[in-house]
């Protein structure tokens, strides 16, 4: 019990005084996950929207594949990215293993299906609502997509936030491909795992506070967004 209290109070001080290690790790976590988020969103938001309004032959298959990719275990993603980037792997010459870039690649693979799937669902519902009107008004395909993106922007933001939440809290894949190297690839989740193992609860808990605060913020925003949606505000 005493350990925990001591840990909690020193963790509190680490956060309040702005411990340099803690700040460095937090910033790297944000940098990796935000970069992954931007790349994944750039792929997933247009793709999910396109999937929602386009009728084509293998649409159902594509959706099924997308939904099962969403359930990919991060550890396995980490393993695959590791094999691809390792010295003997096909992309070994790039020397990306154990760099933040490798971690970004892994996170992009993990969150792109999630963002695309949420986008697809939201846009499919919106398209069902708008379909007849937009066809009746003789809109161009570009105009339809613009209208959907503009009126569905909250759903798109929700999808992106869900992806960010998953990326920032993920540990399995980035541990494997990043290696948790001090001052290089150490992020919130991997260092919590490490410090806990070492028994340094102060730093682990301090990092945990930051992580929880980030996750809570993301969820509060998602909640607020879905509430304004239901109330018909925007």
């Amino acid at each position: 019990m005493n350990d925990i209290w001591a840990g909690l109070s020193s963790a509190f001080w680490l956060v309040v005084t702005g411990d340099p290690d803690l700040i460095e790790i937090t910033l790297r976590s944000l940098q990796v996950s935000l970069t992954a988020l931007v790349i994944a969103s750039a792929i997933a938001l247009p793709f999910g929207t396109w999937l929602a309004i386009r009728r084509f032959r293998f649409r159902r298959t594509a959706i099924a594949v997308l939904n099962s990719l969403m359930g990919l275990p991060p550890v396995v993603v980490g393993l695959i990215v590791y094999l691809l980037l390792s010295r003997s792997g096909p992309f070994g010459v790039l020397g990306l293993l154990f760099t933040p870039t490798a971690m970004i690649i892994a996170q992009v693979i993990i969150i792109t299906p999630l963002i695309a799937s949420i986008t697809h669902q939201a846009m499919r519902d919106l398209w069902a609502e708008y379909h007849d009107l937009l066809i009746s008004l003789n809109t161009t395909p570009t105009r339809r997509i613009l209208t959907l993106i503009s009126d569905g922007r909250r759903a798109l933001l929700t999808a992106a936030l869900a992806g960010f939440g998953r990326a920032i809290g993920e540990v399995g894949a980035i541990m494997i491909v990043g290696g948790n190297i001090d001052h290089a690839t150490r992020v919130l989740t991997t260092s919590i795992a490490l410090e806990t193992g070492k028994g340094d609860f102060a730093l682990a808990l301090g990092l945990g506070f930051v992580l929880i605060a980030l996750a809570l913020t993301v969820n509060l925003i998602i909640h607020a967004l879905s509430r304004t949606e239901r109330e018909g505000r925007w």
């Binding site: 919106l126 708008y130 009107l133 066809i135 009746s136 003789n138 009126d151 018909g232």
Partner: protein, 238 residues
């Protein structure tokens, strides 16, 4: 003024849904002017008929041809859906949408929006979200949004189903004005009184078939088919 898009011909039009023929075969010519009222019980195929005419329904057989190329004809038509489609935007943006997407200047769009808002009594609601309007207000908004492009052909699917007497009167005045200005109107309704007030031509649909088609007062005074006769009497049709 009569529209050069008409007459329109429906030739051997049938629509099939899940193996069931829900409309047709319909062979019909819609003349250049007039206010056509489409009558029929629930499930008769009124909505399917209007959507087929407008090109929103996949036809199993037959064709709909206008006296102009399809894309020209489509631009001059407006359709009011049975359940109004509200864009998740303000009332103002909903009203202005058909003009805004044509690239009209903002000021011009806004003038048209304010004029129509006054006509349908939604001026105070202009900057509220359209999804929060009442059912009747949504119907009025949908109608104004259809009229804002000055369509030559107006297709309406029960536009007054949720309105009270006062609002029905307002809407009928708008429709009559549009009709007198030369807009060709085809409208589905359940309301026989409304049909008598507005129609210059009657189409009676029952089980996907047109059972009665003719000029308005005559069709009411001397119905040609037993089905329409019982419908006018308020009998339950099976």
């Amino acid at each position: 003024m009569v529209t050069p898009l008409m007459p329109a011909h429906m030739r051997d039009v049938t629509v099939t849904r899940q193996g069931k023929q829900v409309l047709g075969p319909v062979d019909l010519t819609l003349g250049q002017s007039g206010f056509t009222i489409l009558l029929g019980p629930n499930g008769a195929g009124k909505t399917t008929f209007l959507k087929a005419l407008h090109g929103l329904e996949r036809l199993s057989t037959g064709s709909v041809t206008w006296s102009a190329p399809d894309d020209v004809a489509r631009m001059k038509q407006a359709y009011v859906f049975q359940s109004p489609v509200m864009l998740r935007r303000s009332v103002r943006a909903n009203l202005g949408y058909p003009l805004a997407i044509l690239g009209q200047p903002k000021a011009q769009v806004n003038d048209a929006v304010e004029a129509w808002a006054t006509r349908i009594g939604l001026t105070a609601a202009l900057d509220r979200p359209a999804t929060g309007l009442s059912g009747g207000e949504k119907q009025k908004l949908a109608l104004a949004r259809a009229l804002i492009r000055d369509p030559e052909i107006l297709l309406l699917d029960e536009p007054c189903s949720n309105l009270d007497g006062r609002s029905v009167k307002d809407i009928e005045a708008l429709l009559t004005a549009a009709h007198q200005a030369g807009t060709r109107i085809v409208m589905a309704t359940h309301d026989l009184g409304q049909a008598r007030r507005l129609a210059t031509e009657i189409l009676f649909l029952f089980k996907g078939h047109i059972h009665e088609a003719g000029p308005a007062p005559d069709a009411f005074d001397a119905p040609q088919t037993p089905e329409f006769k019982s419908f006018l009497n308020g009998d339950i049709l099976i």
